[in-house]
Amino acid sequence: MTPASPRILIAGAGWRVSRFVVPALLAVGVSREDITLLRRQAAEASGYLSGIQTTNDIDRIEGQFHLTINCVPAPLLLPIQLRLLHLQPSSIHFCDTPILHGLLDLGNARRAVQTNLFSLEDWPFMPNLRCIWPVCAESPNRFELRMEHFGIPTHFLSAARTAFDKSAKTGRRFLRRKGWVLTDLKLGTQARCVHKGPKQEQLAKISMYDGERLIEDFFELADREELPAAARSEEVIWRRVDGTLLSYYKGPQRFHSVQVPLEVSAIYTSSRSRTSIHELDKCVALIDIFKSALEGHSKAYGFRQSIEDALFARATERFRVAWL
């Protein structure tokens, strides 16, 4: 049950907040008046954040918040998170994936881990991956999940972890980086997740192959009237936006639907670029995460796992291989 007017504290007012976090909160019914922004400047926020009250002093924040969402720049992320955990002990906290530069960062990150702290990692909850997870479960030993030409390895590692978790196989993982290709192998099986760079919008795609079945997502979006070519192929994921209803299809079959206010979907659908559609998927994932948190049964990605991902992304950058 969502509280009538939940109080939300957002630390940071950057691109991620204005493009993802606030739109996702608005989509779950939170109004701008319910949100407080903690940012460096005291000036009122502008653009998409206008109308949201702002403060620049963490100690002057009064009362308890239902949610705190931490998206400040990397060097401040963990200190701010520790303060928020101290000041708001009964809130549900969300924190961006940290970037670990040294042992101090790792120590701070470990200290922050609590049962009411979750990661803001949205990839495991992207709706387009919902039809991929069952394949992982059905072919736990031989699936290959490929994320090509996306940017950040920690996003990929969170999705890979979810894929391996869905395949219900326990065991260690072995990460190997060769040039632009980061491979996450589940030891003892032939299952693997592959992240291929560099970031290149026109070539970005997600695919899953288990030796027999192939599923591919080229980030296609259709209007109410259109019947896209993807609808003719049972292997291709595509989306249809019909007013406020956003539906996800694999070929002719719809596998997921979600209500997204026009104000929010318009941010992403004005351009049909793969990046925009991918951002729409990320926003829908955040809607799912925030909704479950406000209803009291948070199903977000664990912060501890997020730290591990950050640690091993760093390790493969430096040493090319890592054990998980």
């Binding site: 290959e144 490929r146 032939q190 693997r192 592959v194 026109q202 070539l203 192959y209 030796g211 027999e212 079945r213 192939l214 591919e216 080229f218 070519a229 003719r232 192929s233 292997e235 291709v236």
Partner: protein, 447 residues
């Protein structure tokens, strides 16, 4: 009034024009692209292929900014796609003509096309004969059930623009370039006149007894569909069955035995004859496998020189895929320059089954193979198959002689007419189709 109007100036168009001129017919060649403007050609020719990466290999573009021409599975300009062609000559194999699926099948066998393949070979001076030095290799491969496929590789690929310039010395030939639009007028079940609108705004009316569409795998299909829909009033939003020859790496071979035979194979490409490997044709048919070919890329011991003393030799294994026609791979007729094509799970499974069979034999021949878990395939700019020789009344019917049903004086000579794409690099078959149509045209009425 011309005897023949040919649309397109690639290998099929050139062969058709040559054969028609040999018959003493007057020929007009209509080309959408310019004579000598590569930048304009690329601009015209680019096709949005939003699903898969398409990359061609044999371009000789001078301008550095034109080096990256991904998503150009065709080319406009005098000489057509020969401008971005790598110079690999090969006819389709017998198995490609025998294969059938549903309504798709070649309407004639390899023996019927053979004289035209020979004529096209003579026209372009192509001989596909491996050197005697590879005889031990052939024996070696035969003994383990591997078929060796010879492909002629020109050190300097034929660029048709030069050949057209020579052919234009024949007074019976007229070449018109930069034709932005062709408006056809029909009467009595045929084309009577074409209004050509050039990109500079000038217009020219052309009357011809015969019309030959030879504009490559994408543009021929669009033009054929335009002709048929104008003549019959049928409308569609797409043409399915688009095929390509996707290619990509499948792993590495670390050779340890039969090294002389392997070196003969690797050296042969420098001697003008590239040798690819495949399975015996009967085995392909019996197991419903495409006519995929495996290429070995690496240096022979001679090429490595003294480095072979300390360097472990790894030979790259690449596969060229014979993609079967699928309705979901299509030219989008509702949008200009849009091809929706992808490599389906079925194609991947077929390739995997082929590799499951051939790689153990290669391993037995030469040594250890490290097979990649995922074959990274990308398009090879070999568009084919959207308007095939087949009885399909919903779209149109292409008769075995290349004539378009319902249009008595219109013919097609293009890879668009391929019912199956077959083995990669079938340039000789494309040229042979053009030669076949061109040589069948005479001053006396056709039967």
């Amino acid at each position: 009034m011309y005897d023949v109007a040919i649309y397109g100036s690639g290998f099929a168009g050139f062969s058709a024009a040559y054969a028609a001129l040999q018959n003493g017919l007057s020929v007009i060649v209509v080309e959408k692209g310019p004579r000598n403007n590569l930048a304009a050609s690329v601009k015209y020719a680019s096709v949005a292929a939003p699903w898969e990466q398409v990359q061609s290999g044999g371009f000789d573009f001078v301008e550095p900014e034109l080096k990256d021409f991904s998503n150009v599975p065709r080319f406009f300009g005098l000489g057509g796609t020969s401008k971005l062609w790598a110079g690999k000559w090969r006819p389709l194999d017998a198995v490609d003509f025998i294969r059938r699926s549903g309504q798709r099948a070649w309407p004639f066998g390899p023996t019927e096309i053979e004289p035209f393949v020979r004529a096209a070979s003579d026209l372009f001076g192509v001989t596909i004969t491996p050197r005697p030095s590879v005889t031990p290799l052939l024996h070696c491969c035969n003994s383990v059930g591997v078929r060796v496929v010879p492909i002629r590789v020109e050190p300097k690929p034929t660029r048709l623009a030069l050949l057209w310039a020579r052919l234009e010395s024949n007074s019976l030939l007229t070449v018109v370039t930069e034709v932005a639009r062709s408006n056809f007028r029909f009467a009595d079940g045929g084309i009577v006149e074409v209004d050509l609108e050039k990109s500079d705004g000038t217009r020219q009316d052309v009357k011809a007894r015969y019309h030959v569409v030879a504009a490559g795998g994408v543009e021929s299909a669009r033009l054929l569909y335009k002709l048929v829909s104008n003549a019959t009033g049928r409308t569609r939003t797409y043409l399915g069955g688009y095929m390509d020859h996707p290619k990509g790496g499948v792993g590495h071979l670390y050779p340890s035995r039969n090294l002389d035979a392997l070196d003969a194979l690797l050296d042969s490409s420098n001697e003008g004859c590239l040798l690819a490997l495949s399975l015996p044709e009967e085995e392909l048919l019996d197991n419903c496998l495409g006519n995929h070919t495996l290429f070995l890329w690496g240096r022979s011991r001679r090429q490595l020189g003294w480095k072979r003393l300390y360097r472990r030799r790894a030979i790259r294994l690449n596969v060229n895929v014979d993609q079967f026609p699928e309705e979901t791979n299509q030219i989008d007729l509702s949008m200009e320059n849009m091809v929706r094509w992808r490599i389906s799970g079925e194609t991947r499974n077929n390739v995997n089954r082929f590799l499951d069979r051939i790689l153990p034999r290669i391993r037995d021949l030469w040594g250890m193979i490290d097979r990649a878990s995922w074959c990274e395939l990308r398009g090879a700019s070999h568009p084919a198959g959207c308007t095939p020789f087949a009885h399909n009344p919903d779209i149109f019917q292409l008769h075995p002689d290349g004539r378009i049903a319902g249009l008595d004086n219109a013919f097609c000579a293009s890879s668009a007419a391929f019912p199956f794409a077959g083995s990669a690099n079938p340039t000789l078959t494309i040229a042979a189709l053009g030669y076949r149509v061109g040589s069948a045209l005479t001053r006396s009425p056709l039967p």
